[in-house]
């Protein structure tokens, strides 16, 4: 019988990530891809199309205009899919809390699976978050 756990187990062996990064979010998270922290040793791969992705990483402050594009990306991803919000600006607007053009609650726009706080989050925090997904799948009931 195909259970949710079986399906998820296959996916979390290798989480393919599509990045939606604005502004400093991009430059701060790029070291995760590089050789020092190297996300590929955990099976995390940055892909070039949302149709191949399992997870959507959102970083940097978001505007209503960029959020529309993020929603389009999210719609194109195959299920099951996860959204990770990286950093304070993404989650709450951060230091731009009183700006007229930043998104204040990202959960109004997308179902966020995990919030990773930090400005920016450390690469270790991102790996920890993805590890939590793996643990979550392990703990799913096999039925």
């Amino acid at each position: 019988m195909i259970t949710k756990k079986k399906v998820m187990k296959k996916i979390v062996k290798s989480v393919w990530v599509f990045n939606w990064f604005n502004s400093c979010g991009f430059t701060e998270i790029v070291p995760v891809v590089g050789s020092r922290w190297d996300m590929e040793r955990f099976g995390l791969v940055a892909v070039n199309s949302p149709r191949k992705a399992d997870a959507l990483f959102i970083a940097g402050y978001q505007t209503p205009k960029s959020m529309k594009r993020a929603q389009q990306i999210y719609e194109q991803m195959p299920s099951p899919k996860f959204v990770f919000a990286l950093g304070c600006c993404t989650m709450t607007g951060g230091m731009y809390w009183d700006s007229y053009n930043t998104v204040k609650r990202i959960d109004d726009y997308l179902p966020v699976f995990m919030y990773i706080p930090g400005c920016p989050p450390r690469p270790e925090a991102i790996f920890d978050a993805v590890h939590k997904v793996v643990v979550h799948v392990d703990e799913l009931p096999d039925e």
Binding site: T63, P64, K65, K68, W97, D98, S99, Y100, N101, K104
Partner: protein
């Protein structure tokens, strides 16, 4: 070999000649601001005419269009920065328009899409109506319903508190305690 002093003198005389030419052609007073920067104040009706003349004189590159809000004077100051590759000078054309009915002619007859994009930005941020620009759609502020945000009488902190935050939400309560 030309000495440093004579070189400077030559440079100065070229600059003086350029200012004279501009004075006679643009029919306005050009001020020497700093090195290689010239300012000119004109009436808003003359903007297309002046820019056409400046273009023909070699000021071919429209760097940017910016707007300043003079709240106490009731004016919006539209500033055009033109760069010349032949003279290596920056000509800044300034004109003041009424703040309540901000209207000015578009420059897309001279600079096409370049002017169009700059004008779109000024339109969405300051509400300046550029007559003759066929595409004044929002550039960054999609779905924006508030007033033009860069005007000085728009208090965006108050606007954000009213429109985007909920005082009953325990996470967002803290934003209402921030003083001005």
């Amino acid at each position: 070999m030309m000495s440093e002093k004579s070189r400077q003198n030559k440079k100065q005389s070229i600059e003086e000649k350029l200012i004279e030419d501009l004075n006679s052609i643009l029919d306005a007073t050009v001020n020497y601001q700093t090195e290689r920067r010239l300012w000119v104040n004109i009436e808003p009706d003359l903007i297309v005419e002046t820019c056409t003349k400046a273009y023909e004189l070699g000021f071919e590159h429209l760097s940017t269009i910016s707007v300043t809000d003079w709240l106490d004077k009731g004016k919006l100051e539209v500033t055009y920065h033109l760069w010349s590759y032949t003279h290596n000078h920056l000509l800044t054309i300034k004109t003041k328009i009424d703040r309540k009915k901000p209207k000015i002619s578009s420059l897309n007859s001279i600079w096409g899409g370049n002017a169009e994009t700059c004008e779109r930005e000024c339109h969405e941020l300051f509400g300046v109506d550029f007559k003759g620009n066929p595409n004044l759609t929002p550039l960054f502020l999609e779905d924006w319903e508030g007033p033009p945000p860069f005007l000085k009488d728009f208090d965006w902190r108050e606007y954000v508190k009213k429109e985007m935050y909920d005082q009953k939400n325990p996470r967002e309560k803290v934003y209402f305690e921030v003083r001005k």
